[in-house]
C-alpha cells in the first residue's frame, strides 16, 4: 500500500511537472487572495465568501484531475497500470487513498496562510482558516477518489474529462445533488458547526466508498484486462 502511495507522491512532489503544478496552484491561491484585499463594498464579506469558494473548486479540480490523469504526470501510475502488477488490489486502492489524502492535505496547507490573511484583514479569527482547510482536505480527498476510479473506469480521455467535470459540478456546484455535503456552503468562514461537520463526514464517507470501489475495480481490471 505504501509503495503505491510513495510512488504517487514522489511523482507529484519531486518531478518537474509535479512541482510545476504545485507552484502554479500556490501562485493561483495567492493571486486570488490579492483580489480579496479590495474593500468589502457590502455587508456579509462577499469577497471572502467568493475566494473560499474558488479555493474549494481549485482543490477539488486538482485532486480529481491529477488522480484521473487529466493532468498527467508521466511517472504516476493509474489503476490500469497498477492492475498489471503483482500488488494486491487493496494495496493499490488504499495506496491511492493515502496518496490522495496527503496530496489534498498539502493543497489545503498551502491555502491556510492566504485564508488566515484574508480573515485577519477582516478582524475575524484566523483559526477559522483551519476549519476551512479541513473542508478543503475532505472534499479534495473525495474528489481524488472520484478521479482515481474514473481513471480506471473510463478509457477514452474525452469521455473521462466530460464525466469528471459533470461529476465535479454535481458534487461541488449543485447543492441539491450533493445532499447534506454542500461543500460550497461548508467552506465559508461562518457556517454552523453541524453543517461543516456534515460536509466533512459526508466527503470522507464518499471518499471511503470511492476508494473501496477502486479496490474492486482493480480486481475487475485483472479479471478482464
Amino acid at each position: 500500500m505504501m509503495a503505491v502511495a510513495r510512488g504517487d507522491l514522489r511523482a507529484r512532489f519531486t518531478t518537474s511537472k509535479g512541482a510545476t503544478v504545485q507552484a502554479l496552484f500556490s501562485g493561483l491561491v495567492y493571486l486570488v487572495a490579492f483580489f480579496g484585499v479590495s474593500p468589502d463594498g457590502a455587508p456579509g464579506r462577499p469577497a471572502l465568501a467568493a475566494i473560499s469558494s474558488i479555493y474549494l473548486v481549485i482543490v477539488a479540480y486538482l485532486c480529481a484531475a491529477l488522480s484521473s490523469g487529466e493532468i498527467a504526470i508521466p511517472e504516476e501510475k493509474g489503476l490500469p497500470d497498477l492492475a498489471t502488477t503483482r500488488l494486491p488490489a487493496h494495496a493499490v486502492g488504499w495506496g491511492k487513498a493515502v496518496s490522495g489524502a496527503v496530496f489534498a492535505a498539502s493543497l489545503s496547507v498551502l491555502a491556510v496562510p492566504a485564508l488566515s490573511f484574508l480573515l485577519a484583514l477582516r478582524a475575524l479569527p484566523p483559526t477559522l482558516a483551519l476549519e476551512q482547510a479541513v473542508v478543503l482536505w475532505a472534499v479534495g480527498w473525495a474528489c481524488a477518489g472520484l478521479g482515481t476510479w474514473m481513471g480506471g473506469a473510463v478509457e477514452s480521455d474525452l469521455l473521462r474529462s466530460i464525466a469528471l467535470w459533470a461529476a465535479l459540478i454535481a458534487l461541488v456546484g449543485l447543492p441539491s445533488l450533493a445532499g447534506p455535503v454542500q461543500p460550497l456552503e461548508a467552506v465559508q468562514p461562518f457556517v454552523p458547526f453541524a453543517k461543516r461537520a456534515a460536509c466533512i463526514g459526508g466527503a470522507i464517507l464518499l471518499g471511503v466508498l470511492l476508494f473501496a470501489l477502486c479496490v474492486r475495480w482493480t480486481d475487475r481490471l485483472r479479471r478482464n484486462p
Binding site: A33, F34, P43, P113, P126
Partner: protein, 454 residues
C-alpha cells in the same frame, strides 16, 4: 423614558430605571434601544439588590425612534430574570419640548409645534446632558429639599453651559440653587423672568444636530503592501515545497513553511487593517464657571468592517451613530464605559460622548484687555480669541499675563482648535461671539476656557 413620556427624537433624554426584586440579585440591568439605521445598542450597568430592595438608576441616552420601544432587562448569572418593553408613543414626540416644573400642573400657553412636559423635582435628571432635549425649562415651583446632590449639580451645569430657564413671576427660591438662578450670574445660560400669560417663542433657529459626528472619507485599499506580503509568502511556500520534495523525512518543511507564512501574513493583515481604518477623533472640554463639559466625537470607516472597541471616561453619556450591529455600552466596575460594536465594511460608525465635571480651571480678562488671569492650572500652547482677534501663548502660567496690544491679529476661522470645537459643539460660534475664550491644546484634545470679564 424622556420627559414625563415626552420625547424629542434625536436628542439626549433622561431615563430612570426602577428595579425591585423579592430576592437578592447581583447582575446587570440592560437597556436596549434603537440608535442607527439598523442597529440597536445595549446599555449595560451593574446592579446589586438585596432582598426586597428597590434600585433607582438614572442615565442620559439618545432616543431616536419612538416607534421602536426600548427594552429593559434584568440579567443575573447569564439568565434573563425579567424583561419589559418601555411604553413610548409617536403621539408623545415633538420637535420642540418645554419642561415645566410645576407640582400643580396649571395650564400652559403653547404654540402648535410645541409640547410641554409637566415635571416635579423627582423627574429632574442627574446628567446635565439630558436637559439638552429641552428648549426651555420653566420653573414655577422648585423645592430644593426634594433634589439630590447630583440633580442639583446637573441643573446648575446645564444652565452654566447655555441652558435656557424661565422663572415664573412669583417664584420664591427655597435654597442656593434658586437664589443662583435668579442672581443673573449664570455663566453661558439664559435665565429670564416670565409672566405665565406670555406665550413662549421657540429658539430663533433650529439647533444643529447635537449628536452629529464628522465622517472621514473612505480609505484606499493598501494593495502595494498586500501584494509584497502575499508574494513573499508564496516564495516561502515554494521553498518549503522544494525542501519537502527533496527527501523522505523532509515533509515537515511544508507545515513549518505554512506556519511561518501564516504568522507573517496575519501580522501584516493587522498592520494593513490599522491603515485602512481611518479614525476621526475630537474631544473638546468647555470650561465655564468651574464646570467642565467635555464633548467627545469619534468616527471611523473601516474598509473591511469588524469589531470596534472604545474605552470612555466614567460618568459619560454615550451615543452611537452610523451602521453597526451587536453594539454594547458596558459600565465597568471602576466606572469607565467600554463600547464594543461590529462595524459594517465601508460604512461610518460614529460615537458621541458627553461628560460634565467640576474643575478649578478658570480665566478672567481685564475689561480693557490689558491682562489675562489664569487660575487652577497651567496651559501649554494656547490662543486667546476675542472680538474677531486672537493672540497666541507658548505657555500660560497661573496668575496674570500682561497682553501686548501689538501681538493681536485677525482671528483665524480655520484654527484647528476652533474647527475641533465646531465639530462637537453647535453652540461654539455663539459662545465665541459673546465671550472671550482661551483655546488650549492638551495632548490629543482641546480645552476651551470661557473667560470672565472683570
Amino acid at each position: 423614558m424622556g420627559w414625563d413620556g415626552w420625547i424629542r427624537p434625536g436628542r439626549w433624554h433622561p431615563v430612570t430605571l426602577t428595579v425591585r426584586s423579592d430576592r437578592a440579585v447581583e447582575g446587570w440591568i440592560v437597556l436596549e434601544l434603537t440608535q442607527g439605521p439598523e442597529g440597536r445598542v445595549r446599555y449595560r450597568r451593574p446592579v446589586q439588590l438585596s432582598e426586597g430592595a428597590t434600585a433607582l438608576l438614572r442615565m442620559a441616552v439618545p432616543l431616536r425612534d419612538v416607534r421602536s420601544p426600548p427594552v429593559l432587562t434584568l440579567e443575573a448569572e447569564g439568565k434573563v430574570l425579567a424583561s419589559v418593553a418601555a411604553a413610548t408613543s409617536p403621539r408623545r414626540a415633538s420637535a420642540s419640548l418645554i419642561g415645566v416644573l410645576d407640582r400643580e400642573r396649571r395650564g400652559f400657553p403653547l404654540s402648535p409645534d410645541q409640547a410641554a412636559a409637566f415635571l416635579d423635582e423627582g423627574d429632574l435628571p442627574e446628567d446635565a446632558v439630558a436637559y439638552t432635549s429641552l428648549d426651555f425649562l420653566v420653573i414655577r415651583s422648585l423645592d430644593e429639599r426634594e433634589l439630590n446632590e447630583r440633580q442639583h449639580a446637573a441643573l446648575r451645569a446645564w444652565v452654566t453651559h447655555g441652558g435656557r430657564v424661565l422663572v415664573a413671576d412669583g417664584f420664591e427660591p427655597t435654597g442656593p440653587l434658586g437664589s443662583w438662578l435668579v442672581s443673573g450670574r449664570t455663566g453661558l445660560g439664559a435665565v429670564k423672568r416670565w409672566r405665565p400669560s406670555t406665550p413662549l417663542r421657540p429658539p430663533r433657529a433650529p439647533e444643529a444636530d447635537p449628536l452629529q459626528v464628522v465622517t472621514p472619507s473612505p480609505p484606499r485599499a493598501p494593495f502595494g503592501r498586500a501584494a509584497a506580503g502575499l508574494a513573499g509568502a508564496w516564495l516561502l511556500l515554494l521553498a518549503a515545497l522544494r525542501v519537502a520534495g527533496s527527501g523522505r523525512n523532509r515533509w515537515i518543511a511544508l507545515p513549518i513553511g505554512a506556519a511561518l507564512a501564516t504568522a507573517g501574513l496575519v501580522r501584516l493583515a493587522g498592520d494593513l487593517r490599522e491603515r485602512v481604518t481611518l479614525p476621526n477623533r475630537q474631544q473638546v472640554t468647555v470650561v465655564a464657571e468651574g464646570i467642565a463639559w467635555t464633548h467627545g466625537s469619534s468616527s471611523q470607516i473601516s474598509a473591511y468592517g469588524g469589531p470596534v472597541a472604545y474605552r470612555l471616561p466614567s460618568r459619560s453619556s454615550v451615543a452611537l451613530r452610523g451602521e453597526f450591529t451587536d453594539a454594547e455600552v458596558r459600565q465597568m466596575p471602576e466606572g469607565t464605559w467600554v463600547l464594543a460594536a461590529a462595524q459594517q465594511p465601508g460604512r461610518p460608525l460614529g460615537v458621541r460622548w458627553e461628560r460634565v465635571d467640576r474643575t478649578t480651571l478658570g480665566a478672567a480678562l481685564d475689561p480693557q484687555g490689558r491682562w489675562l488671569l489664569l487660575e487652577g492650572g497651567t496651559l501649554s500652547s494656547s490662543w486667546l480669541l476675542w472680538r474677531g482677534q486672537m493672540r497666541g501663548f507658548e505657555r500660560l502660567l497661573p496668575g496674570r499675563t500682561f497682553l501686548d496690544p501689538a501681538r493681536w491679529r485677525a482671528a483665524d476661522p480655520d484654527h484647528p482648535g476652533v474647527r475641533a470645537w465646531r465639530q462637537v459643539d453647535p453652540a461654539s460660534d455663539d459662545i465665541m461671539r459673546d465671550h472671550p475664550v482661551v483655546l488650549a491644546e492638551a495632548g490629543d484634545h482641546w480645552i476651551v476656557l470661557v473667560v470672565q470679564r472683570r
